[in-house]
């Protein structure tokens, strides 16, 4: 399952922008802006279309209804394909993750140790899906600027429980939206690339409505597209519960 997807989605996709000063910023300051942008919306509700594309170009498509609040809370329910309608995923604070399989009528907790695993066949891990704040696990070690884009290099903090040793991200200045990322293993191998596009303003936030994630090793790709994206809808804290996981549609 793909915990990572939610993180990157939350990170890059739901990036809203607070305009920053037009002066030379250091890398840490830029990373802080990016994180602020990622966590700016109070909540997000959207329909997510996920297309899985293998190296031979064969595709599978899924649709989810996703709800997110703040940094920690996320609830996703599969809408299509029909065979898995109602399958749900809930993430709460402290890496608490729950899975609901309607056929078994039971909510099951998922071990946090699998956060590095891929989420539901996508190229995103649970960790990718959950990350909304890079500064917690990474420190910015370098930045270059050219053609209206900052290229930021992040290195994993020694004690961070993360899959990537290094991340190179390109960020649009002023909007502080991530336009693409390269994710490297700790041994320096390039593992994945993520490209964000269709960046539009929703409410007062700038957000990418399309993400394409590619796993270098096997050429598998995942395209995530957001439709009907709403922000600051006023979701209550109670919404992110096991009961809702079973109920919501």
């Amino acid at each position: 399952m793909r915990t990572q997807a939610i993180r990157i989605v939350a990170g890059a996709v739901f990036a809203a922008l607070s305009a920053g000063p037009a002066r030379a910023q250091d890398a840490a300051w830029v990373l802080e802006r990016v994180d602020s942008t990622l966590t700016a919306p109070k909540d997000i509700v959207a329909t997510q279309r996920v297309v899985l594309i293998d190296a031979d170009g064969r595709q599978k498509e899924r649709t989810l209804r996703v709800y997110q609040q703040g940094l920690d809370r996320r609830l996703a329910k599969f809408v299509t394909p029909a065979a898995v309608r109602g399958v749900g995923f809930l993430r709460l604070a402290d890496d608490q993750m729950y899975l609901y399989l309607p056929a078994f009528r039971r909510v099951r907790r998922i071990a946090s140790s699998i956060k590095h695993e891929d989420f539901m066949g996508t190229d995103l891990s649970y960790e990718d899906l959950s990350r909304t704040h890079f500064g917690n696990d990474y420190r910015a070690v370098g930045m270059t600027s050219a053609e209206q884009v900052h290229t930021l290099t992040l290195e994993a903090r020694p004690d961070a429980d993360v899959s990537y040793g290094k991340i190179v991200m390109r960020v649009l200045p002023e909007r502080w939206v991530i336009v693409d990322m390269q994710l490297f293993a700790r041994d320096g191998r390039l593992l994945k690339t993520i490209a964000a596009s269709d960046i539009r303003q929703v409410g007062e936030y700038w957000m990418a409505h399309r993400l394409e994630v590619r796993t270098v090793r096997d050429g598998h790709r995942t395209v995530l597209e957001y439709e009907d994206l709403q922000v600051d809808t006023g979701l209550s804290d109670d919404f992110f519960s096991q009961r809702q996981l079973k109920r919501s549609s």
Binding site: M1, R58, L101, F104, R106, R108, T122, Q242, K246
Partner: protein
Amino acid sequence: MAGHPANTLTERDPTMQGNEETSGPRAGDAKARFVGLMIRRRRTVVVATLLLVATSIVGAMRLRLNADFVTYLSAENPVVRAYHYVGEVFGGNETGVVLVTVPDVYRPDVLALIDTLTATYEEIEGVAYAMSLTNTLEFSGTDWGIEVGRLVRGDAIPTTSPELAALRRRVNANPRLAGSLVSTDGTVAAIQLRFATGATDHQGATLATVQQVVGATEDLTSVPGRWSSVTVQFGGMPFLMHQIALQIAENMALLVPLMVAFLVLVLYIGLRHWAGVVYPLVVVLVSSTLVLGVMGTLGLPVDLLSGLVPIVLIVLGSADGIHYMKRYYEHRLQGGSSAVAAAATYRDIWVPLVLTTLTTMIAFGSLGISNVTIIRQFGLLTAFGLFSALVVTLTLLPAMAAFGLGAPRAGKTGRHSNLMASVARLVQRAPRTVLTTGLAATAVAGLGTALIVKSVDWTLCLKRGSSAHRAELLLRDKLGGSLPIQLLVQGDLLDPATLLTMRTLERRLNALPSVSKSQSLAGLMAEMSGALNGRYAVPQTREGVANLWFLVEDEGAIEQLVAWGEPHEGLVQARVTDWETHSIRDAVEGIDEWLNARTPAVVVDLRKLSGIAASAILDEKAAHLVAELQAEFAGHRVAAPTSLNVAAETFTEWQVDSVARSEIRYAVRQYLTSAEAEASVTPGAAERLAQTFADAASVLGVDSTRTDVGTRRSMPGVDQHDQAALALSLAHITNEVVGSRRVAGAMATLAAVQALRQDSVLRRDVRGVFWEAHAPLMVLSDSDAERWGVRGSDAARAVPISVSRSGLASVLDRMETELLPTQIQSLLVTLVVVVVLLSLMFRSPLAGVLMVTPLAAAIVMNFGTMGYLSLGLDSFTAMVATIAIGLGVDYAIHFTHRLRRELARVGARTQGALTNTLQSSGVAILVNALSVGVGFLVLLAATCQHIRRFGGLTSLAMLVAGGFTLLLLPSLYVHLKPRFLEPRGIR
């Protein structure tokens, strides 16, 4: 030569001489003109031959190796087509295994090495998938949930002793991993590689991938001192192919020079003259080159057998040359010039040369009826090579001989002559004794034929002690073998009925003594289900299957078992424990037996049945349950207890009792107070709901009409959607309690079974069988549905499931099953044709029968020897008999032909004729038998054990055939005095 008959030839123009005795004046004229032409234009003949050889060498430059077993059968063979289909649909069907042998796999550095190797292999283009301990899926249940993830992550390898011990325990508790990816003693780890298909040059691509895998492994493990305790070996079909390809080249490089050396030695000993060595050698080298040129030009690959064609030709093709040179020397010793001797020799032995070549060609050509490509190709190419050798013998040899040669001094072959004189005396004096002795020896050998083993280990084609051979033995010993057998299941894989069928197939495969480690999507579903809710059984509903499928459908491990896309094609795959033909046959027969009798076609919903049909189906279900339980025990290699019938009866007759209802009430109340309940209810409502569901419970499920009403009444004011959802959850809980009680009751009847108490995996699996039987459905074959009267009823629905057998084991089995009848056919065809040919040639059916008698005895000796030495009957050894006839009959032809000539010449002085024949043709036969026999012994130096056996047995057969021809045939002639030996019978 002492005792030689006087030469009847005179010094005439060689181009005008005919052989009226054997072929009449007109034929004799034609032959004379032909040989005259060859002799007059001898330089042209030599140059033309050289040009032909040069052209052949150019063609031979295009030769390629073929070590792919699958191509040894026709591409149109259904088994081969099925094999390729599986390869295309599942991204490859060749599985290689990299074996890492260490004192203890559960060490951080070893696990890191396995992880690095796995990741490295995955980067290789020709590797579709690599699976090892460090990337395999694990479905583990916890007190509070399920974990679907990697068993060991490369970036989180256990380092502490408790972590490593925990990993060992988890692996050993999972039969999908223990004994498959890691040996149970923890000393061998396997990295399974699925090789990709689709390349135009499949074998070339596979071999290139093998080299990359081996190279990458060496790069990673060759750090000095770092991995001194680690041994890496490579097993499985792709590596085996690589090894065989090396061996084919090695065989040709080693055996051809060795064979030439032996031939030189034997020729010199036999003919005592340099020309006697060089000229026959030229014949075989020219014909061998021609064959290789034709192979290269036509794109025919060099495989395990066709690689032997040049070697066989060197042995066989020399025979004509030997006979020619032997006779040529006779003429030369009688004072004829080289041209006259060359022409006279030609006339003398034209008939036996053509006839013997024809019979040998028939023997090899009869292999052309084989469905096995390599046998067919070997037979036809050898036949063509023999024809080439004959042509060269009849054209180049007279031409070369006419250049003028010195003749060996008389008496040089005296020892042979003396030996033959002794043979003649023995035969004349005591023909019955000779015959009786021969018969007795044959009879003793005949007893050995009863001991023939009809099973052969395919790994005999590997060099004993080679890395590949050791890897195969290790795989057998520690990891259940490397030979895959697969069942392709086509149908709706999300249908529980299909998955139940696949589980049954898994059990039936494991129950076969020669098969283990079966797995399929159904097994993975059962494992996931076990982690999720503690029952090792496939879900009972389509929705349940779909939910679990969703969790894993895009995992790499699944791609090996289920074709991409909508799950309509899946594999049940297992491993045959070894490469013995009988093991493979047992596996195939066991599978086919089940498939033929039990192919599922109809699924019956037990909830919709009543009356006699329900009772009948329940009886059938009980019988099916017992069979499944027996298979489960057999798969664990544990004797099934007699109490299985009682357990099955207890299970099928169980009804919801008061204890179960009490548990249902408790479970419902617990759920309603949990955080995940769809709605909050009052304590009173909870109690009412608990009672409603307890009352509505039955062994076939919950009566939803009662529970729906009860839920609505107990939860006034609650959203209808939540009411319905809650009712579904409570029904699910109720069914779980009912199932648990029912299974527990059945398991209680097996409580005394010691194996169940001791083996937690067996216990888990047996419980799984009961849980699967708890599903309110029954899968029946079409005939069973008809028998029980449910076919076409409302309770029955068709399940279009197709199951077909595939995998390399199926291909090998088909090869073997097609091979033996073909070999027998070849043997019979050769025998009949040879007998008919000889009968026509000598105008006597008795001639045909008598002349094959020594060969028949030699064949019996051959099979007897195989029996006594426990040499299995396989495609290689079965060929020996056919070849022995084709070659051995040459001796009889040469002998009989010469004897008739001698009888015609010396009249009634039979003794003199026999002595003369033995001292002339007999010596040639002896030399030839020795050269062929010793020549085939050279194959004992081959790396492949199959070829060694083939060489040894052929050698024995030829020596025996030669010996029997020189002893038994003259004894038969002396004893029976057949009329066809009289001159008038000669054509």
